[in-house]
Symmetry: C2
Subunit: 334 residues, 2 copies
DNA sequence: CTGTTAGCGCCTTCAC
DNA sequence: GTGAAGGCGCTAACAG
């Protein structure tokens, strides 16, 4: 019943609070079978359940972590969050999820609130170049892991997908099938949004290695709302025979464009998306994609964070960036 | 940092802890401008930030709520969670999200953990008929709101979509367009999974009102993994000319079946989904759906819960079930 | 094996 | 206007 305290249990069981505490923490090395029974009885007679806040205050551990994503509505974030939650649950941790919506102030605000709440650590998909803030966290040895994105000069463990490999898979698939004018559309390239930068760079690099000429007109970046317009332009000015969607959001916009123009896929335009999407399998036609290992990424990040939390030494170790491998899902859109 | 306490601030500002406390809580009714300044200075000199855990212990409020969904990977839950998070954030609350995966034990475990953590309230999409547990919470006046599903005899505020109306919109649209053999596929009907029950009942009722004969062969329930098989059977034994997907998961399976059989939609089979899905708009053909007001539902639930939390009187008021209105999204699949 | 003591960091009367 | 004292519920030495 909420307001039953350890003292009540102790009183009823006729022992002291500390004995009850021992019991609760399963430290009954030498506890007599008898007192154990008495305490047991008292506990369920009163319906006692320990107050986690008091314990947290005492132990300076909350067994809670914070996760800051851009927007949980994005499939990628959802997968990440689910994986983190699972991993934490397995370790008796809880997760507070926050949506920063790519707003630096919101991100900062959440970080402040979470720290005030004494969460034991943070997994963040940094939505902004909030360098100073993160540097400060690092200096204070606050357990922190980055996911999907990196921030320069902030030394933390980070989990990313191998973006070069993702693009390589996509491009080689396309080139292998004989496509020659391969477009790439990404969201706006901003310095700190690692996947966009890396994928674009990879695109050039892979095509170069393959000896394929790249026309600048085929490489475009745009806000989600402008993707259809950009597609339109590209198709009329310098029509590609295949297009790579830089991520799931872009893919959706490309599909809207295709739908509105009633373009045949892949005959008129082949499509390949980076990021697997829930509807890829039964889309018409089924969509070939490069799936990021979302689940594995979330789990890895959670594992790294929990390790940092449980082992304070860990905080001093060298930090790494882990690259997880994407996989090509061959379907029929190219 | 982090270990700076109110005492430190008090010492540096040369006032007492309580004065600092007053300051932190903006209770400077009569505080001299001077001490205010001193405290201010001390605070940012030390980079002080109050310890939420200690405050929570003292105030018996954590400004955190728990949300238990079946699985955050489902679009419906994602939307709900996002709306809840937004509403809570606007009120300076945090949200701990848990995935019960339709497992009663997991649900119970989460509820226990969350209560131990002293969360101020719970929003749950009850995944199981854990009646006793919920009844107990209600008796203890623990702030609790149900979402999407109801549990008999548990008197709490609940937010559901108007399932009768949702089905009515779908059926009338179909009948209006001249379809005569309208199938319905839902996940297994279990007593406590309100939307499934209500939608199926509504289907019968609406068709009856319209004077349309219903053939039992057209009404099927199946686990997600069996939906394709059931479609197969239905199409060969008693082919409908239109099918209503009882929810988003079922819709996806129906679409897989359609994809694998290369059926033309809507010529060969019209499709209408209850639950809007992210890809409906650009699917081929664009899918007509009945959208549940996911966002509004989440927000409403959060508002009800926060009201219960902030106003203890509220807990004694009569509880209601709020029905939010779905809307038909006319596209081209029927 | 169990009890005593002393806080964790904050808030809140109640004096001064 | 400000300070002193006590306590929220639990844990961790240290005695016994």
């Amino acid at each position: 019943m909420g307001k039953v305290t350890m003292a009540d249990v102790a009183a009823l069981a006729e022992v002291s609070k500390s004995t009850v505490s021992q019991y609760m923490n399963e430290r009954f090395h030498y506890m007599s079978h008898e007192t154990k029974k008495k305490i047991e009885r008292a506990i369920d007679e009163l319906g006692y359940s320990p107050n986690g806040v008091a314990r947290s205050l005492r132990q300076k551990k909350t067994r809670t972590i914070g996760v800051i994503v851009a927007n949980i509505l994005h499939e990628f974030s959802t997968g990440i969050v689910r994986a983190i939650e699972d991993t934490c649950h397995a370790n008796d941790f809880h997760v507070i999820v926050c949506n920063a919506d790519d707003q630096p102030e919101k991100e900062k605000h959440y970080i402040d609130m979470l720290r005030a709440k004494q969460v034991d650590g943070l997994i963040v998909l940094p939505t902004s170049d909030n360098q100073a803030l993160f540097t400060q966290l690092v200096e204070q040895h606050y357990p922190l892991v980055f996911l999907d994105r990196l921030i320069e000069d902030v030394e933390v463990n980070a989990v990313l997908s191998d973006n070069l490999e993702a693009v390589r898979l996509a491009v080689e698939e396309l080139v292998g099938k004989g496509y020659e004018k391969i477009g790439l559309i990404t969201q706006p390239i901003k310095h700190h949004i690692t996947p966009r930068v890396e994928r674009k760079d990879a695109y050039y690099q892979v095509l170069k290695n393959l000896g394929v000429h790249v026309d600048q007109a085929l490489v475009r970046s745009a806000e989600v709302d402008d993707v259809q317009k950009v597609m339109q332009q590209m198709m009329s000015e310098f029509p590609p025979d295949a297009v790579i969607a830089g991520n799931d959001r872009v893919l959706q916009e490309i599909l809207k464009y295709i739908q509105s123009e009633k373009l045949f896929v892949p005959e008129k335009l082949a499509v390949i998306g980076i990021d697997d999407v829930s509807f890829a399998e039964f889309f018409n036609p089924p969509l070939t994609t490069v799936a990021q290992p979302t689940f594995a990424m979330g789990r890895k990040a959670a594992e790294l964070l929990l390790a940092e939390i449980e082992d304070s030494e860990q905080g001093l170790r060298e930090k790494n960036t882990y690259r997880l491998q994407p996989v090509l899902k061959r379907r029929l859109s190219c």
